[in-house]
């Protein structure tokens, strides 16, 4: 598993998802609603995704589509994908959606993610290439982590291209001095 040590993957899997227990469970205090240390059959609990998906595999629970992929988000994405604040839904919107889709059996999530990403990708790249050194905080606060990575990659490649064209100072002092300034912080 290439993602075992991946920090983003671990945090994505911590997102909560609502499940309904199909079987009763003893000896675990995971349901805040029950007084005893157990979960009743048919009770609805919010579990982290890593637990919910494993229990789904063993048919212990049935997972429901999380709130970040609800009707409201779908309508907003249809209307104008570039302006939708996906980070408030979930900073790992796309990764979480990809994981949730097979677990809940919802086939429309894929289309939602694809259309949202397609439109926003164009927006991210144009903003990254034109904004140059000025970071646009309002725009960035609407992007998910993956989109922010894309934005930063585009900006750094733009900066590298400009530096190459300018023919600036040799490689050695730049990267090393920046490292020094970083390490003294």
């Amino acid at each position: 598993m290439a993602n075992y040590y991946d920090v983003d993957d671990i945090i994505t899997e911590e997102e909560n998802i609502s499940v309904i227990f199909q079987k009763a469970v003893n000896g675990v205090g995971i349901d805040p609603g029950s007084e005893k240390n157990c979960v009743e059959q048919g009770s609805k609990v919010e579990l982290p995704f890593w637990l919910a998906s494993e229990l789904c595999l063993r048919n212990t629970v049935v997972a429901q589509v999380p709130a970040c992929f609800d009707e409201k988000t779908r309508l907003e994405v249809q209307a104008d994908p570039a302006c939708v604040d996906l980070r408030s839904r979930s900073p790992y919107f796309y990764e979480f959606g990809c994981k949730v889709a097979p677990v809940t059996g919802d086939r429309t999530i894929g289309f939602l993610l694809f259309s949202a990403f397609k439109s926003r990708y164009k927006e991210v790249l144009t903003k990254a290439h034109t904004a140059a050194n000025v970071a646009n905080p309002k725009f960035l606060s609407r992007l998910t982590k993956e989109e922010v990575h894309l934005y930063e990659a585009a900006q750094s490649s733009m900066a590298a291209f400009k530096k190459w064209r300018k023919g600036g100072p040799r490689l050695q002092p730049a990267s090393v001095l920046r490292m020094k300034r970083k390490s003294t912080n």
Binding site: Y4, Y5, D6, V7, D8, I10, I11, E14, K23, A24, V25, N26, G27, V28, G29, I30, C38, P48, W50, L51, E54, L55, R58, T60, P169, R170, L171, Q172, P173, V176, L177, M179, K180, K182, S183, T184, N185
Partner: protein
């Protein structure tokens, strides 16, 4: 419990900037390990309960089984979070060794745990043995320079130093015309700066 503290540890690592380390969070790390202990106890007691009732733990699927399953999954999750924390920190440390050389600045060293300090020493030793055997200096700049000599200004007092072709007194604010390979380790540690004229 149930992986929340462990995820907190990973999130703390994620919030630090790229290639920067925060102080090793001994406290949270130990708390997660304690939680693993309590999950283990819960697991053992449920399994014992099933065995006392005469059920076969491999095939029986009752409430106790699912409880034990959840404890087991929490343990595996805690393990993953702890390992990811250590692994990613080790990766940063290796990167620092390549960028800054054998002696890391004091601010960085005090953020490392004891085992990380040992790891750095071992890694550094292995790298140096390899470089000595190959007779190659691998940690220098990858881009071939246009000029083998560069002009530098010394930023901090280093004193009398023996370089490849001569010995020089590297006093503060003095300027020298040194070979790139000699100057590079000092520049990367921030003790000198290159003069571009």
């Amino acid at each position: 419990m149930y992986g929340r503290k462990a995820c907190q540890l990973v999130k703390e690592f994620a919030t630090s900037e790229k290639e920067q380390l925060k102080t090793f969070n001994d406290d949270l790390f130990d708390q997660v390990i304690k939680e693993c202990g309590s999950h283990n106890l819960g697991f053992q007691s449920l399994v014992r309960k099933m065995q006392d009732e005469g059920l076969d733990t491999q095939t029986a699927r009752n409430g106790d089984f699912y409880g034990a399953l959840i404890h087991h999954l929490s343990l595996v999750r805690n393990k993953r979070c702890l390992m990811a924390y250590m692994y990613n920190r080790a990766e940063v440390i290796r990167g620092l060794r390549w960028k800054l050389g054998r002696v890391l600045p004091e601010e960085i060293v005090k953020k490392l745990s004891n085992s990380e300090k040992d790891y750095l020493k071992g890694y550094s030793g292995a790298l140096e043995t390899y470089m000595n055997d190959m007779n190659l200096e691998l940690t220098v700049d990858m881009v071939p320079p246009k000029d083998p000599y560069i002009k530098v200004r010394v930023l901090e007092d280093i004193g009398e130093v023996l370089l490849t072709d001569k010995s020089a007194n590297l006093a503060r604010h003095s300027m020298h015309f040194l070979k790139r390979t000699d100057a590079e380790p000092y520049i990367s540690q921030g003790l000198m700066e290159e003069l571009l004229s």
